[in-house]
Amino acid sequence: MDFELKLDAASVVLRGPFAPEKFHPGWFTANGLINPDAMKDCKVEIISPDISGFLFEWVRFDVQKDRFAFQIKDTAAFSELLQDLVVGTLELAENTQVRTMGINRDMHFLASSLEKYHAIGDALAPKDVWQKLGLDKLGLRSMIMESKREAPPGHIWTKLEASEIFGKEAGIRLDINNHYENQEKNAENIIAIIKDRWKSDIDRSLKIAESLLGLA
């Protein structure tokens, strides 16, 4: 195996406005969105009118006045539960406006060798163009490829960069952002998109990553 998936996180980012102080651990358990047993493992970082940050064993919440993020770190296990959580939150938080949404999958792959690691950069960003400029010791640090989507409006960003979680070992991070614009700003539209496209977005994100790493 040339690349091993070591960290497979996913997140949903909503752009609001939101009221951060409304969203605290008790709100999620009282409304049946999170198992009440999970409260014993809940870690609260901050709850204030400006920002709320807390995490349960499997999901993390960051709520700001203009941004609501749900994050899991084990996508293969908890993807469907994250979907339920976001849909449930939007259905219960009445009159919530959502301008945009991202369904994201953030993957870190450990490379089996430095050669395999460099092969990805060489395939996606050939160095000869740069060498002609007199530059040497070249290496791809980061790139984003955008694919626009007409309906529902938005885009897919595929961000590839050197992973920094492996210390001295070489790794590649692939962060796929499935971005949706919501001109009507109504939460119902976002809920419909999640129900319709969740599985395909999550699955396709992994396929994109595996296909790109297959270039090595």
Partner: protein, 199 residues
């Protein structure tokens, strides 16, 4: 006209343009306070109005998982990522078919090997966490996971767990809509079949 400068500063922090960052910072302190200012040519590219049309690259970004703003509020030494993790080896989606004598009969579908046929399983309700037990009913959906649970202390435990899905309940207007839409189909049934319908 109102501008959200805090996001623009974040954008500048991500870029290598330190002069832009410095220029923006004077408009964005403290972190969460938005200021009102007149646009100039340097900033126009980066700062979008709140009334901007939908495709505003700064205000609509949805790709960042952990914004730098969070770090400023974190207690010293606190970790941003949860410490334990679960590595799924097998995963099924199930639906409860019947519950009898505290035993569930369920139909399951393998989510990791989608070409596998559906299977039926039984499991005692005792397998579930206490707070999940009230969710068990005919038609309930659940995820069955088998995998490694890596604990913060480095311990790895092989676990099997059933997690019942906490789907939002149906709203009355949704129920009414479904009833309205299904009425023409119900009219196709004969009298005997209609007696089997729920009110």
């Amino acid at each position: 006209m109102s501008y959200d400068t805090t996001l623009a500063v974040d954008f500048a922090e991500e870029s290598a343009d330190s002069s832009l960052k410095k220029e923006l910072e004077q408009f964005a302190s403290p972190v969460y306070e938005s200021r009102v200012f007149e646009p100039d040519s340097t900033l126009e590219t980066y700062v979008q109005t709140k009334e901007s049309p939908p495709f505003s690259p700064v205000l609509s970004k949805t790709d960042e998982i952990l914004p730098q703003k969070i770090n400023r509020y974190m207690p010293k030494g606190a970790k941003l990522k949860p410490e334990s993790r679960f590595i799924a080896l097998r995963k099924w989606e199930g639906v409860v078919v019947e519950v009898e004598n505290d035993v569930c009969l369920a139909r399951i579908r393998d989510l990791m090997r989608e070409d596998e046929a559906e299977e039926e399983i039984t499991f005692p309700i005792d397998e579930l966490s206490k707070s999940d037990r009230p969710l068990v009913a005919k038609g309930s959906l659940f995820i069955w996971l088998i995998g490694y649970s890596d604990k913060a202390n480095g311990q790895r435990i092989r676990e099997s767990c059933f997690i019942f899905r906490r789907l939002p309940s149906w709203k009355q207007d949704e129920i009414d809509k479904i009833k309205r839409e299904s009425r023409p189909l119900a009219d196709l049934l004969n009298d005997e079949e209609k007696t089997l319908l729920r009110p």
